[in-house]
C-alpha cells in the first residue's frame, strides 16, 4: 500500500530523515515509535506532502506520489491528523466533518445552495461523527469542544475523506487516561477495516493496536517487526525502551 525508499530530509546540519525505508501492507496497523527528536513528525509531514524530501521515493497504491502536493495526496486517499490539534474552531463539529466530506465530493465551485443544509454533506458527516462518538456534540463549535473531543474530531475529519490510508500523528497527545482509553477503543474498532500508520508515544496504545512496529532513531528505521519481536529486540531496548525495559 505504502512504500518508502531512501527518504532523506535535512534541516541545516540536522539529518531528520536519513535514508528511511518503510513499508505498510494493506489492512495493517503500523505503529511508528521513537524517542523525542527522532524525526517522526518530519517523516509524517513528508508522507502527507507538507514537506518535500531531499531524496528518496514515496509510492502509494502503486503510484509514485513523491512530487504530489498535500491536497492531491489527500484526494488519492491519504488522510492525516496533526500532532497539534488542527480543526476549524469557528465551525461546529458537524460543519468541520461536512467540509471533509465536501473535499472528496468533486469541485466546490457551487455558489448558491446552502451547504449546511445539504444532506449530501451532512448525512455522511453525521454518520462519521456517530462512529467516533461525537454525535451528541455535533452542533458545538469545534473551538469549544474538550481537548479529547477535538482529537476525536480530527480523526473524524480524516475518516470523512474516506481514506485508503490513515496517518495519525500522536492522536493521544495531551489526553487524560479516560480520553486515551476512549481513543484506543475507537482506533481498535477502525483497525479491522482501515489501514493505519500510527505515530504514538503511549506504549500501552501501541502494543494494543499495532500489527507491526517500526522504530525510528536519529532519522533511521532501526527495526521493523511484529510487536513481540520489537519487545525482544536488543537494539530497540537499548535505543528506546532503554531505561524502563
Amino acid at each position: 500500500m505504502l512504500e518508502v525508499k531512501g527518504l532523506c530530509k535535512s534541516f541545516g546540519a540536522l539529518r531528520a530523515s536519513d535514508g528511511i525505508d518503510f513499508h505498510v501492507a494493506e489492512g495493517e496497523t503500523h505503529a511508528l515509535i521513537g524517542p523525542n527528536g527522532a524525526g517522526k513528525t518530519t517523516f509524517i509531514s513528508q508522507l502527507a506532502g507538507n514537506l518535500r524530501p531531499d531524496a528518496g521515493r514515496i509510492r502509494f497504491a502503486g503510484e509514485d506520489i513523491t512530487a504530489l502536493s498535500a491536497p492531491k495526496r489527500s484526494r488519492k486517499g491519504l488522510a492525516r491528523s496533526f500532532q497539534i490539534t488542527s480543526v476549524y474552531p469557528g465551525f461546529t463539529a458537524l460543519e468541520n466533518v461536512a467540509l471533509a466530506v465536501q473535499a472528496r465530493s468533486g469541485h466546490s465551485f457551487r455558489f448558491w445552495r446552502d451547504a449546511r443544509s445539504d444532506p449530501a454533506l451532512t448525512g455522511p458527516a453525521r454518520q462519521v461523527l456517530e462512529e467516533v462518538g461525537l454525535k451528541e456534540r455535533m452542533n458545538v463549535l469545534a473551538g469549544n469542544l474538550a481537548h479529547g473531543e477535538q482529537r476525536q474530531l480530527e480523526v473524524a475529519m480524516a475518516l470523512a475523506t474516506r481514506p485508503r490510508l490513515l496517518l495519525l500523528d500522536e492522536p493521544m497527545a495531551g489526553m487524560g487516561i479516560d480520553e486515551s482509553q476512549h481513543m484506543i477503543g475507537l482506533l481498535a474498532s477502525l483497525k479491522r477495516r482501515q489501514t493505519i500508520v500510527l505515530v504514538e508515544h503511549d506504549m500501552d496504545a501501541v502494543f494494543r493496536l499495532a500489527d507491526r512496529i517500526s522504530v525510528l532513531v536519529y532519522g533511521r528505521v532501526i527495526a521493523s517487526d511484529s510487536p513481540e519481536k520489537i519487545k525482544m529486540n536488543q537494539e530497540v531496548r537499548r535505543a528506546y525502551l532503554g531505561e524502563d525495559a
Binding site: 502527507a48 507538507n50 502536493s69 498535500a70 491536497p71 492531491k72 489527500s74 484526494r75 488522510a79 492525516r80 496533526f82 488542527s86 480543526v87 476549524y88 474552531p89 469557528g90 465551525f91 460543519e95 461536512a98 467540509l99 471533509a100 465536501q102 473535499a103 472528496r104 466546490s108 465551485f109 457551487r110 455558489f111 448558491w112 445552495r113 446552502d114 451547504a115 449546511r116 445539504d118 454533506l121 475529519m157 480524516a158 470523512a160 475523506t161
Partner: protein
C-alpha cells in the same frame, strides 16, 4: 436567523421611506448623501467577501471602483450611453483586472499580499493620471448618465436612489448565498485553517482567485454607479486612501458578517458628514474615534447586534 431577517426588513423599509420623508422635510440633500453611502456600501460588501470571509487583506480594492467608473466615463466619451453596455463593460473589465492581479498576488500571503495589491492599484492610479485623453490628473466629466431606456432614468435623483438601494440589497443577498454555499464554506475554512484544508484535500488557490474575481466584478458595479452619482471621474478614485477607507468601512462594521460592511459604511460616512459640519479639521476627531471603535468593538458594529458568522 429570524431576528436577522426582521432587522433587515426594518432597515430596508426605513431606507425606502427615506426619500419621500426628507423631501417632505425640505432636505433633498439627504437623498444624495445616502445614495452615495449605498453605492460605497456595495463596494464594501464586495471587499468583505475577500477580506472578511476569504482572509485576503486586499489593500487595492479601490482599483475596481475606478475601473467601473472609467468604464462608464470612457464609453460615454465615445458616445455609447447604453447603461447595460456600461454595466457589462464595468463588470467584465473589473473581473479581468481582478483575475490578473489575483493570479499573481494570491500566490503570496501576509504582508506581501497587502503590498502587491497596493502596488497594482497604484499602477492603475498612475495610469489614470497619465491618460490625457480622459482628463489625466483632472479627471473627466461624464457626458451623459448611463441610460436604461424605459426602465429607469438615473437623472431622477430619487429613482437613482432606489436603484442604488436595490443593487445594494441584491448584493447583500448574493453575498449571503455565496458565503454559505459549498464555495463559501471552503473559502472560510481556508481562512480559518489552511493546513487543515490542504490536509482534507482542498487547494485554496483556485477558490480564493474566484472569490477575488467575484469581489472585483461586484466592486466594478459600484464604480459604474459611483460615476453616475458624481458625474465626474478622477484617478483619485483608485488612490490608496480610497482603498484604505473601504477597508475601514468593513473593519468598523465587522468583518465576515453580512450586515457589517453596510453598517460600517453608514457609520463612517455619516460621522464624516457630521464632523465636516463642525470643523474643517474633522479628520483629527475621526482618527481617534476609529481607533476607539476598533479597540472597543472587536467584532465591529455588527458584533453589537449579531454573533459573527464564523
Amino acid at each position: 436567523m429570524r431576528t436577522r431577517l426582521i432587522l433587515w426588513g426594518i432597515a430596508a423599509l426605513l431606507l425606502m421611506a427615506l426619500p419621500p420623508l426628507v423631501i417632505a422635510l425640505g432636505q433633498p440633500y439627504y437623498v444624495d448623501l445616502v445614495r452615495r453611502i449605498l453605492i460605497l456600501a456595495i463596494a464594501a460588501i464586495s471587499l468583505n467577501l475577500i477580506l472578511g470571509y476569504g482572509g485576503l487583506l486586499s489593500f487595492g480594492h479601490a482599483a475596481y471602483l475606478g475601473i467601473g467608473a472609467y468604464a462608464v466615463g470612457i464609453l460615454g466619451f465615445y458616445g455609447i450611453s447604453n447603461g447595460w453596455i456600461h454595466l457589462l463593460v464595468a463588470i467584465g473589465a473589473s473581473a479581468l483586472v481582478a483575475a490578473a492581479i489575483g493570479a499573481v498576488s494570491i500566490r503570496t500571503s501576509g504582508i506581501y499580499f497587502i503590498m502587491i495589491t497596493l502596488a497594482f492599484t497604484q499602477m492603475l492610479y498612475y495610469l489614470g493620471i497619465s491618460l490625457d485623453v480622459y482628463g489625466g490628473d483632472d479627471g473627466m466629466r461624464l457626458r451623459s448618465k448611463s441610460q436604461f431606456a424605459g426602465l429607469v432614468d438615473l437623472r431622477d435623483p430619487v429613482a437613482f436612489y432606489y436603484v442604488a438601494l436595490g443593487v445594494m440589497l441584491l448584493f447583500v443577498f448574493l453575498t449571503y448565498r455565496i458565503v454559505n454555499s459549498r464555495f463559501g464554506m471552503l473559502l472560510r475554512a481556508a481562512k480559518s485553517n489552511e493546513a487543515r484544508s490542504r490536509a482534507i484535500g482542498f487547494s485554496p488557490y483556485p477558490y480564493r482567485l474566484a472569490a477575488f474575481i467575484i469581489a472585483g466584478a461586484m466592486c466594478g458595479v459600484a464604480g459604474a454607479l459611483y460615476a453616475n452619482h458624481t458625474n465626474y471621474i478622477t484617478p483619485g478614485l483608485m488612490a490608496w486612501h480610497q482603498s484604505g477607507e473601504m477597508m475601514f468601512m468593513v473593519i468598523l462594521g465587522g468583518i465576515a458578517s453580512t450586515a457589517g460592511p453596510v453598517l460600517g459604511t453608514f457609520a463612517l460616512l455619516l460621522i464624516e458628514e457630521l464632523l465636516k459640519g463642525w470643523t474643517e479639521h474633522w479628520q483629527v476627531i475621526l482618527g481617534p474615534l476609529l481607533v476607539l471603535s476598533v479597540v472597543f468593538f472587536r467584532r465591529g458594529l455588527a458584533g453589537i447586534f449579531f454573533k459573527p458568522d464564523a
